[in-house]
């Protein structure tokens, strides 16, 4: 009873607060000009960061907090150009495949140094990958190395590793090494942009645990200190040779207990960048911040996925799922319930990813109640005429799940309810154990900007991300063929064909693409630019010189 009461109070207070800020907003700061004044190349930026869950080892950062820091301290072989997603060489001079893309030769730019002064060589990469892939080192991202020949020896499905080196990695000389894959992957170079592929210095292997507390990398910033749950400091590395040199003096990553607390500090200029505008301020933040409000799309998609192992969806006619998709009024829901924090999805592949095709799904994602009803009827109707959407209640999914259900119910008369699980762990548990009753909420943020990542890794029969039990031989064959294609262009094209195949099959109903709704303080010079993964490109952020 008490809980319910205080929740009401909070809501009341929030409304008052919103009303007050709406009136008081836009009076100062907002138009003061982000581009006036001068940038200070040594200015320190303060940014919000939650406590990283794992030690700061490159292959151990599964969540965004740890990897946000790691990406400043380590530089990989390649990175992606913001906006286009094109490959950009960082520590690598070249990464070239053989004729069938199964053996890759990496050449390093010579003379790169780690922050402790030791040289970055082929060995730094090979040793790092062998260590990270080894099952006994408990790196949460070790499965990223599974394309490499010999991965099964260091990371068997059961029991102890048979070897501590992958046979597919060969050092040619100090600045050259080769990677032999178990099969052909035409876009393997794109995968190399992920955190796990970072090189590690000699000193790491002597005490990996200590190195996880005080990482030594080869990146644009060197690590200074980690005051747990409070502050992580990184500072510009003067000896950095990469193209993405830091345009500021360093970053103080500050920990906040709540999004509201961080937003308050942003508005009073005690913090220069926040992760996300708190839900309570979404409707007013653009007024509050003016030019300093950030509203940018990134490559992630949210969908609802039928559980194909249930009686309901086992032998479903795809027309029914198409009908359900057309019964969802994405435009209205993203505008009202989600306050414009998402944009309606028109494809399985998120925008900004190579191979994204505008309108790939055509009418299937357009709201059309009459057609929706017709399609469902043609497909033989929804078994039981009732669906539910499973979601986790510890994040704010309920409002949109209710809205989607409402839309489906109104348009087609199919009964729809939210199936709430108390938290993310419980939600995942039900998905893994194939206990989802009808449909579940799915989401996918890009790993690398090629369309295969949004299809093969989600809808392939044996794909790691496939938890719905969807399986289509034709799609699997096409994906395998696409992976073996000679050039990336061919691969991308074949996956675009595969997307049309999925369109007829409907393994999931894409809902919308994610956006960053954030803000920056008046200390920042110019607007903060974002990468495709939804994180700012910190090296490019400039801090205003103090007057």
């Amino acid at each position: 009873m008490r809980g319910a009461k205080s929740a009401k109070w909070v809501a009341g207070a929030a409304v008052i607060a919103l009303a007050a800020t709406a009136c008081g907003g836009n009076d100062k700061d907002s138009d003061s000009g982000m581009n006036s004044g001068k940038a200070d190349p040594n200015g320190i930026l303060t940014a919000q960061l939650g406590e990283p869950q794992n030690p700061l080892q490159p292959a151990n950062a599964k969540e965004s907090q740890g990897s946000r820091v790691l990406r400043t301290v380590f530089s990989g072989l390649v990175d992606y150009e913001p906006g286009t997603g094109k490959l950009e060489y960082i520590n690598a001079e070249s990464v070239t495949p053989n004729a069938d893309s199964s053996v890759w030769t990496v050449k390093l730019k010579p003379g790169w140094k780690f922050h402790d002064g030791t040289t970055v060589t082929s060995k730094s990469f090979v040793d790092s990958w062998n260590w990270s892939a080894n099952v006994k080192n408990n790196q949460t991202n070790s499965s990223w190395f599974q394309d490499i020949k010999g991965y099964d020896d260091v990371h068997p499905a059961k029991g102890k590793p048979k070897a501590d080196k992958m046979s597919g990695l060969k050092i040619v000389d100090d600045n050259t090494f080769t990677i032999t894959l178990t099969g052909s992957v035409s876009y393997f170079a794109y995968k190399l942009g992920y955190d796990v592929w970072a090189p590690l210095p000699e000193s790491f292997f002597k005490d990996p645990a200590a190195a996880g507390q005080k990482p030594i990398g080869n990146g644009p910033y060197k690590f200074v200190s980690w005051d747990h749950k409070k502050l992580i400091k990184v500072r510009k590395f003067d000896g950095y040779q990469g193209p993405n040199k830091a345009k500021n003096g360093g970053i103080d990553f500050k920990n906040y207990t709540t999004a509201d607390a961080a937003y308050s500090d942003l508005r009073s200029n005690n913090l220069d960048w926040i992760e996300q505008i708190p839900t309570t301020s979404l409707t007013s933040y653009k007024q509050d911040l003016g030019d300093r409000a950030i509203d940018a799309e990134y490559s992630a998609v949210q969908s609802i996925v039928p559980a194909f192992y249930t009686d309901q969806f086992k032998d479903i006619d795809p027309k029914v799922v198409q009908g359900l998709s057309m019964a969802i009024d994405r435009d209205t829901i993203t505008k009202t319930v989600l306050h414009g924090t998402r944009t309606p999805a028109d494809s399985y592949v998120a925008r900004g990813v190579i191979g994204y095709k505008p309108g790939a799904l055509g009418d299937i994602v357009k709201y059309d109640p009459a057609k929706a009803k017709k399609l469902i009827q043609e497909g033989g109707g929804v078994p039981g005429n009732k669906i539910s959407i499973q979601f986790n209640a510890d994040q704010s999914h309920k409002p949109w799940v209710d809205a989607v259900c409402n839309s489906i119910r109104k348009a087609t008369g199919v009964e729809c309810t939210g199936d709430s699980k108390p938290d993310f762990q419980a939600d995942l548990n039900a998905r893994d154990n194939k206990q989802v009753k009808s449909m579940y909420r799915g989401g996918w943020v890009l790993d690398y900007p090629v369309n295969s990542n949004f299809m093969r890794d989600l809808y392939g029969t044996t794909a790691a991300g496939n938890t719905s039990g969807y399986s289509n031989k034709e799609f699997d064959e096409l994906a395998a063929k696409a992976d073996k294609a000679k050039t990336l262009d061919e691969t991308v094209k074949m996956y675009q064909e595969a997307e049309q195949l999925l369109k007829n099959d409907m393994p999931a109903i894409p809902l919308w693409f994610y956006k960053n709704n954030s803000g920056q303080s008046t200390n920042v010079f110019g607007k903060i630019v974002y990468g495709q993964d939804g994180d700012p490109i910190f090296t490019d952020v400039q801090v205003k010189a103090k007057k």
């Binding site: 207070a13 607060a17 207990t257």
Partner: protein, 308 residues
């Protein structure tokens, strides 16, 4: 006295084992696998999940996990977080922060609460008394959450008098606002309690005697009345320390204090058993010890109370 203390200390052992067992069971009964959850929406790597579960002993039967946990605990080892840090390190960083916050709240509560109560109690039935009554009623009826939110909104966001968040948890000046918010509710209770006992004791025999003896008023009120009236107040203050540490979860969240409330909240979200059990274990110990101290304080305040 010594025997009483010894008996009380011995009683703590079953209470301690019982509470830790209950918390331990509650954490493990929750659905979902925290190790699996590290992978989020993406599929987990079964070999790595098995390896991690083994490392944290989660593949053992529950009773064995508890026995191992307790055995380690008696050696001062609270276990490790999933991130590989010692739980004891996490606690030794956050407990001092919360203790500081609690101390600030306690001082505010004692000074303002008892002061206000005494002031009203000595003027029972007059306008001042009614004023305090209304004020405390208002405070009691507003949840801490709302109070904190409003205080931050008005004082920091609108007026700009203070920074909205605590930037440095070791700075007592910055802890004043969250401490005040945390103290508010209990302060009202202390004021009401003090006011009632004051008003009651004013009519007590010993007061009349003291007055008849011609003692100065300051001594009557300051020593005789205050000391006797403080007994129920001290009990309340004692139990309140435990409440403060618990209530800090909300206040710490609002004002960004990186204390134990925050630690517990995050640990619950990540289903980090060793941290949850560890923090609660310390809570239990603190509350047990404080209760003992409160009981012993009675004897100091009222010499008639003697423990065998």
């Amino acid at each position: 006295m010594g025997r009483y203390v010894a008996r009380r200390l011995l009683q703590m052992i079953p209470v301690f084992i019982g509470t830790t067992l209950i918390i331990f069971l509650m954490v493990h009964i929750l659905p979902g696998d925290p190790i699996r959850a590290m992978w989020g929406d993406k599929a987990a790597d079964p070999a790595q999940v098995a390896s991690l579960r083994h490392e944290f002993g989660l593949d053992q039967p529950l009773w064995k996990q508890y026995v191992d946990y307790m055995a380690n605990l008696f050696q001062g080892d609270f276990g490790k977080t999933f991130g590989g840090r010692e739980v004891i390190d996490e606690m030794s960083e956050s407990f001092p922060v919360t203790l500081r916050l609690t101390a600030v709240a306690m001082i505010i509560e004692i000074i303002v609460g008892i002061g206000l109560g005494a002031w009203a109690g000595l003027r029972a039935g007059k306008a001042a008394d009614t004023g305090v009554l209304i004020f405390t009623l208002i405070v009691i009826s507003i949840p801490v959450f709302v109070l904190g939110f409003l205080a931050r909104f008005v004082l920091a966001d609108q007026l700009g008098w203070v920074a909205p968040n605590v930037q440095d948890s070791t700075d007592y000046a910055q802890l004043f606002l969250p401490g005040f918010v945390l103290a508010m509710l209990s302060m009202a209770y202390v004021a009401r309690l003090t006011r009632t006992t004051f008003a009651e004791n004013l009519r007590a025999d010993y007061m009349r005697t003291a007055m008849a003896k011609g003692l100065p008023r300051r001594r009557i009120v300051g020593v005789h009345l205050l000391r006797n009236s403080l007994i129920p107040v001290v009990t309340f203050l004692g139990t309140d320390i435990g409440g403060f540490i618990g209530g800090a979860v909300v206040t710490e969240g609002i004002f960004n204090v990186q204390g134990v409330g925050n630690l517990l909240f995050k640990a619950l979200q990540q289903r980090e058993g060793s941290t949850i059990v560890g923090v609660v274990t310390v809570f239990v110990l603190v509350i047990l010890v404080i209760n003992l101290l409160v009981d012993l304080l009675y004897a100091v305040l009222d010499p008639r109370i003697r423990y065998a």
